[in-house]
Amino acid sequence: MELVSLFVGLTFVNNVVLSKFYAICPLLGVSKKPKNALNMGYAVTFVIFLASIITYLLYYYVLTPLEITYLDLITFILVIASLVQFVEMFLKKTSPEIYKSMGVYLPLITTNCAVLGVALDNISAGYTLIEAMVAGLAVPIGFTIVIYVFATIRERLDIASVPESFKGTPIALITAGIMACAIAGIAGLV
């Protein structure tokens, strides 16, 4: 039961994108077509889920016994970078189309704050391995939902008549602000 509330909490109430500002770059960059947004979401889900398990195990079974926890940042970022490289190679071989449409944003998953952020949060919140796995699944699902909804809204914004000063990124940020209001509203319900 606690795991369920952790899952729902991280997916909606404390949605990382709208309440912690992780992963704003891909949110503004990739989310112009809903289909690309979904593909990005899948790739990020895969990376975050694996990264949160591997970094958790490394931290508690390698870094802590050796008393070199100050190397956590370097270890985590290397794990993440190699996972992203793996996803990139996998996509290049299996579906070149998706690979092409994601362009530069695929290698940029490495510098997606959400990946490193979840790994660090798992440690600082003192989660168990199971909780870390749930967090590693809930956070990217929340990210995928937000980026997909955001992409569909932006598609409609393209044909709306927006004041010239607000065209492009400004209106996108205001939209994100309104979505953050909605998410904050859910927090009041729970």
Binding site: L73, E164, K167, T169, P170, I171, I174
Partner: protein, 216 residues
């Protein structure tokens, strides 16, 4: 004069947040108060300065194929140093910035400058570039946090980062009418959106003026 241009472009023409839209995650998250913004700005300047310096020194040694992992390891080491120093000397600031200090590692500004400037230019130019970009970042987060703190709490305050009990200044204008939404995430998005819209407005007006002058 050219050296000064390298420094100046980071402040205005290529401001990392307002123009290049890099490093938005941290700039939205930590701009709840002026003190946080200035502290974060200093941390980013330190990391950027050292990473640009080291990478421009090593630019001929680092093999091209694995340059990104090498850059990231260098940056992660520097960020960890800054994090430990802040934990020791500015504990309150360390506490309130929280996870966003280690997240400087994945701040696109640092890696972006390493890739697009420090790996191609000399040491002095890279240091100037880092100073300009770092100050540009600080300027941007100070502007955002100025509006967020003013509207969100109705006043402005600044604490000594090394000793939080020491208040540098604290003023209150309309705290009864503060809109607390602006200290929350939603307010951050809207503040940055409005500032960007204002910049776009200035650009459009400038372009229109230039067009009119041409017609005449």
């Amino acid at each position: 004069m050219k050296k000064f241009d390298i420094f100046k472009k980071g402040l205005f023409a290529e401001n990392p947040i307002f123009v290049l839209l890099l490093g938005l995650c941290s700039s939205l998250a930590i701009t709840t108060s002026l003190t946080n913004a200035i502290g974060m700005g200093m941390a980013v300047i330190c990391v950027l300065l050292m990473s640009n310096f080291i990478i421009s020194l090593l630019r001929k040694i680092i093999p091209n194929e694995i340059r990104i992992p090498v850059f990231i390891v260098i940056i992660a080491t520097l960020v960890k140093c800054v994090q430990m120093i802040m934990n020791a000397y500015t504990p309150e600031l360390y506490e309130s910035l929280g996870v966003f200090i280690p997240l400087i590692v994945v701040n696109c500004i640092i890696l972006g400058r390493a890739e697009s400037f420090a790996s191609k230019n000399g040491v002095l130019d890279s240091i100037l570039d880092a100073l300009g970009m770092g100050l540009g970042y600080t300027l941007a987060v100070v502007i955002i946090s100025f509006f967020r703190e003013l509207i969100g709490t109705g006043g402005l305050s600044l604490y000594n980062p090394f000793d939080a009990s020491q208040v540098i200044f604290q003023v209150s204008f309309f705290s009864d009418y503060a809109i607390s939404l602006f200290t929350q995430p939603a307010g951050a998005f809207m503040t940055l959106g409005t500032i960007l819209a204002f910049i776009q407005f200035l650009k459009v007006r400038k372009a229109n003026k230039a067009k009119k002058a041409e017609v005449k």
